[in-house]
């Protein structure tokens, strides 16, 4: 700042950048013709302004712009995303409901169904026992002896030789 002059450095900067009105402009121009210090300041700022003007401009990649101003460009995208998200949720619920509908739960069965199942289970075991009993007779003995049942749980294959004399 020029301490000997009454013109503030801010005014000189505005002059150098061409931001003063014509009257102020005239006043500073007259002054810089006689004051070398102020003239030098003005010249430095003019030089600085020129250097700004010649600085090459380049286009930023979209991602860089978005990272600087994340709200503005992505706002439209967010809108579509929300719409897609809502549609996906509705679709998933629809699929889920249709699946749930086909899956049987305890609530789907009445007392009569359960009683029927009880009777069916008894019938099933009766048929099984009839076949096993008949087979037992054919084999000349019992089919599932206690001694066999227990080790069978551990390893059936080890019992094969016992049952079939070495062959499977």
């Amino acid at each position: 700042m020029n301490t000997s002059c009454k013109i503030e450095e801010d005014v000189l900067i505005q002059y150098a950048f061409g931001e003063l009105n014509w009257l102020q402009n005239l006043h500073v121009a007259r002054h810089t013709k006689t004051c070398s210090t102020c003239w030098q300041i003005v010249e430095e700022y003019k030089l600085l302004q020129r250097s700004f003007k010649v600085t090459e401009t380049f286009s930023c990649p979209d991602l860089a712009v978005e990272s600087i101003r994340p709200n503005q460009p992505s706002r439209r995208k967010t809108y579509y995303w929300r719409f897609a998200f809502a549609a996906a949720v509705i679709a998933l619920f629809a699929i889920g409901l249709s699946k749930i509908d086909r899956t049987s739960t305890s609530a789907d069965y009445s007392q009569a169904d359960v009683r029927q199942a009880q009777n069916d289970a008894r019938t099933a075991f009766n048929v099984l026992s009839r076949v096993m009993g008949k087979t037992g007779k054919e084999l000349g003995g019992d089919v599932l002896p206690q001694q066999v049942a227990e080790p069978l749980e551990k390893s059936i294959s080890t019992l094969k030789p016992l049952l079939y004399g070495g062959s499977s």
């Binding site: 305890s106 199942a117 099933a124 026992s129 009839r130 089919v143 069978l152 749980e153 059936i156 294959s157």
Partner: protein, 177 residues
Amino acid sequence: MKRIIILLCFVPLLVFGQETDFSKMAGYIDLDELTKLFNSEAVTEVEIQNPLLSMAADMMEEEDPKVSSMLKTLQLIKVYTFENTVDQIKDIKAYIEELDGKLSSRKWNRFVKVRDENETTYVYLKNDGKKVKGLTVLSVDNDESTFVNIVGDIDLKNISSLGGQFNIPKMDSIQTR
């Protein structure tokens, strides 16, 4: 965050939307072809699956604790009995032999085999290394054919203890011929 929300949307589908696929269970065998083999309807046709089996088991808990405890661990019971006609027996026996081959290749263990001119009966167990997961009975004689498939954790001690109740012969010795 959004990805997590989407994944959470799938959770109800995984929890509620899964149908029990018995065909993927170790002890399951496909008996659907039986209906094509026999012209007549089955004399006995039982197909009970969970959760009905569990509900039946709960209901029988006091009245029949042994059967109840056995049913609780089962997933599926299928029983078909058909009356045979003379001309069918050959086809049925061929079908049973075909099934026997399939079951053997799937590592079912055949522990009963009765084959004579009047009867063919095969009994198989499917073992996963620790537990018996399936029981299958294929049987044909001059009068009827019986097919049984029980899927689930099968406690052979429990089956053997049913003895008197379902006329299963007492099981305290073994004799094979």
